[in-house]
Symmetry: T
């Protein structure tokens, strides 16, 4: 990959699935971070309401290239 | 969150996806446990049959409020 | 389960979801490995392109029975 | 210690400190569980409100002797 | 394995060996839990008396099927 | 919790206790970060001077909501 | 130890003990692998039947020298 | 920090709090160890008596400089 | 347990079993250490010779009371 | 150390060694971050090209003092 | 990265440094494995002889693409 | 390896590299410990001064044979 990268941790939430929560987290991060290159799943949790899963929460570490 | 909570570990299974297995685990737990508030994914495994995934298995830790 | 098993690590990739990446990894492994019995998710990562998730990558440990 | 023990996971909360949250968790568990013998701290988290810590949350695993 | 499972943590003790402590833990659990299917070793400790091992203690997580 | 969150790691220090170090870390972070929601204790260390504890150091991961 | 080594993961099973399961795993591996030098215990699990341990399962990582 | 350091593990106990248990462990270690520089919390447990916490136990790793 | 404890790490070896290796480690430690109270298994490895297990190696952390 | 610190995660790359990759990561971070005090190695990976290591990649967590 | 990858674990040894041990492990693996793409450091150990380091040992997990 | 071994934790520091820090730690330990046989890297950290790495710090666990 060469170059210097920074990693940040973002939590995405979705009522549907873990994959969806990851997509939302990355999409949101793209508003302020450029040159994102990869993500690593750090934690998978969720909320329960009235006896059913109401939300999937995924913490991802996102790596992006620092502009030299 | 305030109050006292208990955590139990439940394993849900689904032929479709990890998210589905979590939903099934929580739904089943709701039959005997009230006031469930959140879940944490602890382990993701699965069964293989005839060279293909036949089942997704997810262990979730479920937190629920103890009624004072 | 009785008998002796071996575990190998395979990484599957999918543009859609983690579950799909697992299915692809197992399907591919089935071309050269027989008697596969279970898998364990070891790592979940992915690639990002143009500010959006372009690929889900899942490392699975696959257990299969050694033929005595 | 000899004998058979069971472990359960309880989350205590306190506005003051981690030690206080542990005490509250054990005190509450004592209402329904007898012969408790030890606890292990599993996780320490908390809530933030208006830029200040509003609650300490400690997950403890409590071991208690099963009555033969 | 299909179906829903619950996991509980039990500590067995034995003056002889770790395997014996596991057997005792499972045997004791069978008095109140039905449909037990597998166990996972979580921790291995023990007591020392007069400069010699006096007791092996094994914490096992036991998985059992919930009756639908 | 719904929405997107970011996590940052801050180290607080206190001559008194771990809880105090957490409070100081959060208080300081509040000067530049808004919408903080929860913290997770990551590491607990400290300094020793003249044979006595001179400082408690706690690393906390703080989660805060990103303003859409 | 000097030289280059490879590690493989094998699961041995035994109705008697963990040590026995390790011996069986290594013995079986010796049929196809030469120059085995050491093993590391990675996981200890087992099966339960009719309320009693029916099988000990040990995953070992086996290191063996690659023939230059 | 420069120089060579050694780390030892000490368990301190206190009826009051985790911070107090750490202070006691360090204070006691200071009777035989010189040039102690820092500590790392490794484990937090405790004893329960009559349904209430009777003792906080903290294992700390203490680093001290070796006198050249 | 009250009082101050120290932990040391010892590796015991046995041609027979893990339990035997633990017993040997504790027995040997008793020659120079007094007031030993408990042990924790940290690592289980072993040597292989001529395609068979030749030695079980267990690393145990031993806790003993410091004489005030 | 007293005061409040923040930790960030940076990945440095070098064709030569892990130490070199760390130096480059820190050097680069110094362009935008002041008062850096220490680093912790979190992960060591690398790229392979044409059957040989082409790049060492080290993820370091860098701690720096927040200016009060 | 797209496609399916397999991971193997190799231990390289060098009298000089960890980086050198990694290079040797990869170089040796290249004799029998094609399409190697990345490595992950899993463990760093070494041998001591006559009071000095005589060998650095690094376990690396190597990922390589499976030829479809 | 047969026999009984003890493990101690030592931190070595070097302005040059991690490998150098390990060598220095072992060399220093050799002044008071005999029959050292192997080391395991436990932690890799370092100090930063004026925006550049000023010191590599490696914690190694050193195993040495107890003289029977």
């Amino acid at each position: 990959m060469s170059g210097i990268y920074k990693k940040i941790e973002v939590v995405g939430t979705s009522p549907t699935s873990f994959a969806e929560a990851v997509k939302i987290a990355v999409k949101e991060a793209s508003k302020t971070v450029r040159h994102m290159s990869w993500f690593e799943v750090v934690e998978q949790r969720g909320a329960i309401k009235d006896g059913a899963v109401s939300e999937f929460q995924v913490t991802v570490r996102i790596g992006f290239k620092l502009e030299g």
